[in-house]
Each structure stands twice: as structure tokens, then as C-alpha cells.
């Protein structure tokens, strides 16, 4: 399986959109549509990600188009950066591959009333303490351990269940997507294996591309939206990227296993086994949905506990309560998830299952699910870039509802494979290179930093620019990292 260049049709249909017509492959039910500019498209063509966009168009009940965001890259089954909506009333299916192994992987942004001059003298101490206190990397359990019964309760409640333990506040819940709780979660469908894996991992970062960064608001692009989100130029923020850890991976794995014979049972033909799916209304589909929702709620608890530990470290280093440091949650949003949402499709209001696999929800102003404080500007869309350059805060725009089922990109998107990035780092010291740019980096392994170096990613500014121009989400603030911890 080498990354052959995609040779299928890609027709430019707008300044930032490219179509793979459904005539490309027998079995495609809708077109594929990729959001990118010409330069990004050149990169995207270099592997089989567009083929995966075409393959997703085979899914029964898919609406409008199989979509991909500008950070699209080759995944397994679904591409990373893909969005598809399926209609239960039209024989629609749910596909665990369209959510991913890391169910409700997502991003949380915390602001503060600190500025660079407050933090810079303490930066080494701060990052070292974060790295000591917040579990990162393989095999690290956290300081919170839950038994099976407690885990099931948490998966039903989401982070609200952490309030009585003094680990969350009402305000935290308010600024978390879906208030950190998807209804109808079925923790009883989460296997003992998944519970074992999740027992001591709630409040741990994990490895791979997961990170915790201390960032500065470098530039405000939209004053009104930034003000609503409490962001100001020079302000110190913390961005956290993690998901449902081993529990979520196991839920996905269990589902892929139990769905092995299901497409054949329902007469569904698929071009790739990793696209395995079940009709939404089937027992198999409902079983996965119940477990997936439970794992999603667990992931929100994980990011809540990661944030809580971050607040504790800041309080210790700066010798002030986190409330006094105004370390409030700006927002928490998922980018690996399937949600049952209402959308306008072919002139009709329909409720569809929107699969976002490496895509961020980007609801426009006045959407009922956006917190009231942000209603006039749009839902915050948090886009981590890479650890050497930048990340972005965007706000959802009306174009997202018309074009992408309320979705935008989820990051910069990988440019190099992990192995290629490691080769590219040979003879270099990524940690020292970052230090020269004023960024303190701590990682469990040298390889962790090598694989996640800036060069391994597309330029997030370019990716975000496409999202902005396409009217999916508007630029609000560019954040620059000054400290990073990784697995």
C-alpha cells in the first residue's frame, strides 16, 4: 500500500472547491467535494485521500455529497478531514470508521488574565510542572481512577458528573459542545475491555498528535468575536488536544468486529472493509450509537480533567487561584464524532447523522446549540496547527450550514508520514530548534517531537484561509505557541 497519486477526476467548481463526479465509480451515490485552493490540491492529489472521498460516497443514505475539508489526508476507510451526512429515512447507515478510533477527539481552549511578560520568566518552571503533573505518553495512567460503575455513571452524565467532586463548574459545562453530554448514551453497551482500558486514563493526554500547549494570542482578526470569547492580543491561553483514550479506541474496535458480517446481511456493497457500517435503525447500528455516545461523553470528561490539572499547575506556579487567574473555558469542540442534527437538504428540513472524521463543527451565529454569549458571532471553532507555528480560533459562519453540514477543518493536516518526518529530523535537534524560537517543548520521547515537527504539517494559515474564504468559518484570532507538552 504505497501512496499512489490520485488519477481520478477533480473538477474545480469554485474558488475553493473541487468535485469528484459520481460517474467516477460505479456505486457512488453522490459526488465527492473537496474544499481546497490550488496549492493544497496539488498536495492532496499526491495520495489516495481523494479516492477515499469517492469511496465514502458509496454509503447508503448519504446526502448531498461526500465532503472533505482542506486539511484532508489519507486515512483508513474514511479520509481524515471528511464529512458525510446520512439520513435514517433514506436507508442511511452509521459507520464507526466515519468517527474514527479516537471517538470525540477534540480541542479545548482555556484563557487567562496573564500576558507574556507574566509568564516568560516562569515559562520553564511552568512547562516542567505541567509535564510532571499531567500524564502524557504511552502507558501512563492518571491520578484519577474510576471503577466500572463510576465509569458508566460518568459516561451517562459527561463532565457534569464531575461537579460534585469539585472537578468542574457549571460554567465549564456551559461552554462545552453539547454541554459535554450526548443524550441516549448507553454505557451498558461499552464492553468490560473498554472499561478496563479507560479506568485510569481519564485525565491523561496520550501520545501521537495529542498535546497541551501554552499559547499567546498573537493577532486578533475579528474584534467583535474575540471580545465575545474574552480573547485579547498578547493574552496567555492553553489549548488541549485529546480524546477518549483507550476506552474510545476499544469501543470503535468492538464495533468494527461486531459489524464484520453486517453489510452483507443488509445487502450493502462497500469498496473498503474499513467503511463497515450498519443501518441506523438496525440493532447493530443502535448498539454502536449507544456505545459511541458513551465514549464521547467520556472524552469530554477527559478534557475536563486535563483542564482541571492545568488550572492546578498554574495556580501553584503563579501562587493564585485559577479563578483569580481567570482561567475560564472559552470552548470545547469535538472533531471525531457523529451527531444527529437538523439540516436543510434539497429544500427540506431533515434530521441526519453527520459523521465528522477530523472535521470540526462550525455552527453559525444564532444557532440554538451555540452558547448565548457567542450567539451573535458564531460557535468557536478551534484549529490546532503545529507546535512550531500557530493555531487558530475561528467562528462558524452561515456558509457551513449550506455547504458542509455545519463543519470546518480540524487542523493543518499532515504533509509527511511519521517515518518521513523522523528521517527529516535526522541530525537535527527539534527541541533546540523550538527553544531558539522561544518555545519550551517537553516530550516523553525524542521521536514524539521529531514526528510532530512543523515541517510534517501543512501550513495551518493556508488551510484556515480556505475555510475563511469558503465562508465555513471566519478568522477570529491567531495563537502562537510558547510551551508544549507531548507524549
Amino acid at each position: 500500500m504505497t501512496a499512489n497519486r490520485f488519477n481520478g477526476p477533480l473538477e474545480q467548481v469554485g474558488e475553493c472547491s473541487w468535485r469528484i463526479p459520481k460517474s467516477y465509480k460505479d456505486g457512488m451515490r453522490v459526488d465527492g467535494l473537496i474544499y481546497a485552493n490550488e496549492a493544497l490540491m496539488e498536495i492532496i492529489r499526491n495520495d489516495q485521500a481523494p479516492e477515499q472521498v469517492a469511496n465514502v460516497a458509496f454509503l447508503p443514505g448519504i446526502q448531498q455529497a461526500s465532503l472533505a475539508m482542506p486539511d484532508i489526508h489519507w486515512g483508513y476507510g474514511f479520509c481524515i478531514g471528511g464529512v458525510c451526512a446520512t439520513d435514517p429515512a433514506d436507508g442511511g447507515v452509521i459507520s464507526p470508521g466515519g468517527v474514527g478510533y479516537d471517538i470525540n477527539c477534540g480541542v479545548r481552549l482555556v484563557r487567562s488574565n496573564l500576558f507574556e511578560s507574566d509568564v516568560r520568566p516562569q515559562l520553564d518552571r511552568l512547562i516542567n510542572q505541567l509535564f510532571r503533573d499531567i500524564p502524557t505518553g504511552v502507558g501512563r495512567g492518571g491520578k484519577y481512577t474510576f471503577d466500572h460503575k463510576e465509569l458508566r455513571a460518568l459516561m451517562a452524565s459527561g463532565p457534569r458528573g464531575l461537579i460534585p467532586r469539585g472537578l468542574a463548574t457549571e460554567r465549564d459545562i456551559k461552554f462545552t459542545e453539547a454541554h459535554g453530554r450526548i443524550e441516549d448514551a448507553q454505557p451498558v453497551f461499552v464492553s468490560p475491555r473498554a472499561l478496563d482500558r479507560g479506568r485510569d486514563q481519564c485525565g491523561t493526554l496520550g501520545s501521537g498528535n495529542h498535546f497541551l500547549e501554552v499559547q499567546l494570542v498573537e493577532r486578533i482578526a475579528d474584534e467583535e468575536a474575540a471580545k465575545a470569547m474574552g480573547l485579547a492580543e498578547g493574552m496567555v491561553c492553553v489549548m488541549i488536544h485529546s480524546g477518549s483514550r483507550g476506552l474510545g479506541y476499544q469501543v470503535c474496535d468492538d464495533a468494527l468486529h461486531s459489524l464484520r458480517g453486517v453489510p452483507a446481511k443488509y445487502g450493502i456493497e462497500l469498496p473498503d472493509r474499513q467503511l463497515v457500517c450498519a443501518p441506523i435503525d438496525s440493532d447493530e447500528g443502535q448498539h454502536y450509537l449507544g456505545a459511541m455516545r458513551a465514549a464521547a461523553n467520556y472524552a469530554w470528561c477527559n478534557r475536563q480533567l486535563l483542564m482541571w490539572q492545568t488550572r492546578e499547575v498554574f495556580a501553584r506556579i503563579f501562587n493564585r487561584d485559577w479563578e483569580d487567574l481567570d482561567m475560564q473555558l472559552v470552548y470545547d469542540v469535538a472533531h471525531n464524532i457523529a451527531k444527529f442534527e437538523e439540516h436543510q437538504i434539497d429544500g427540506q428540513r431533515k434530521r441526519v447523522w453527520v459523521h465528522r472524521k477530523g472535521a470540526t463543527r462550525a455552527f453559525p451565529p444564532e444557532h440554538p446549540e451555540t452558547p448565548q454569549e457567542y450567539a451573535h458571532v458564531g460557535q468557536p471553532v478551534l484549529i490546532p496547527g503545529d507546535m512550531g507555528r500557530a493555531s487558530w480560533v475561528l467562528a462558524g459562519q452561515p456558509g457551513s450550514m449550506e455547504k458542509t453540514f455545519g463543519s470546518a477543518c480540524h487542523g493543518a493536516g499532515r504533509l509527511m508520514s511519521r517515518k518521513a518526518a523522523s528521517r527529516h529530523a535526522q541530525g537535527r535537534q527539534i527541541r533546540d530548534e523550538l527553544a531558539k524560537r522561544g518555545i519550551v517543548a517537553r516530550s516523553q520521547s525524542r521521536r514524539g517531537l521529531d514526528e510532530e515537527q512543523s515541517d510534517a504539517y501543512k501550513d495551518v494559515d493556508v488551510v484556515v484561509d480556505v475555510v475563511h474564504r469558503a465562508g465555513l468559518a471566519k478568522k477570529v484570532a491567531r495563537l502562537r505557541p510558547i510551551g508544549v507538552i507531548k507524549g
Binding site: M1, Y76, G137, R193, R197, G208, R273, R418, K419
Partner: protein, 136 residues
Amino acid sequence: MFETFDHTADIGIRIEADSLAALLEEAGQALFSLIISDLGQVRDREEIRLRIDGTEPDYLLFDWLNELLYLFESKRLLASRFEVSIDEGGISGLVGGEPWDRQRHELDYEVKAITYHGLTVEQVGGRWRGKVIVDI
């Protein structure tokens, strides 16, 4: 023998052996050589028996690796010795290793899951070849 290959955000394993049993044994080595930096540091102090039912070689490879990953995830067991025998209904595996010791074992990749993407096991000219991508 096994080798790893590139897959954008993940890592692939390509395995070749004389028999399906040997292929599965090699695959076990390959998986744990991703999980731990130096598999040579793992002592053979504990033995675990695994049983996997099934007849399709690709699913056997998948399920076998999945069980091994779960051994690490749930029991923190690092495995370095693999013995597989095949019968009509599936495979029996004997796995030797020891629990992860933070002082002696440096862990490498966090393997999230084994994937079905591009999963193949085939017999070509008397040799068995397998391919699997793991999610990192």
C-alpha cells in the same frame, strides 16, 4: 521477516514467512517492536495462552494482533516470544514476556488499534505474506 512502511499518520507492517503460523509469530514481534524501543530488553518470565477461533487468514492476523495489543493495554504485558499452532477451528498461541517495568523498558509508539484498512494475508509461491496498518 517483517518491515514497517509509511502510511501518513499511521504505520504499516509487512510480514513474510514460510507458514501462516510463522507469519503470525512474526507479526507479534512486529507489533511489540513498535510498542517498545528495544524488544531485547524484555525477559521471558511469564507465559500466557491465547485462543482465537476463525478460519480466514486475514481475520486471524487481525484478531491475533488485537489480542496481543489488549494484553499490553490491560495487563501491561510486553511480549517477546510467540508460538502459534493452527488447527481446524482457529489458532492457539503461547506468548512469553514480562510486565512493563518503567525502569528497564522504554516504550515507543502508542498503538491505538489494529485497522482493517489494506489488511491482507496471502500465499504466494509457497510463502505467506501479510500486511496490516496500525493506528498511531
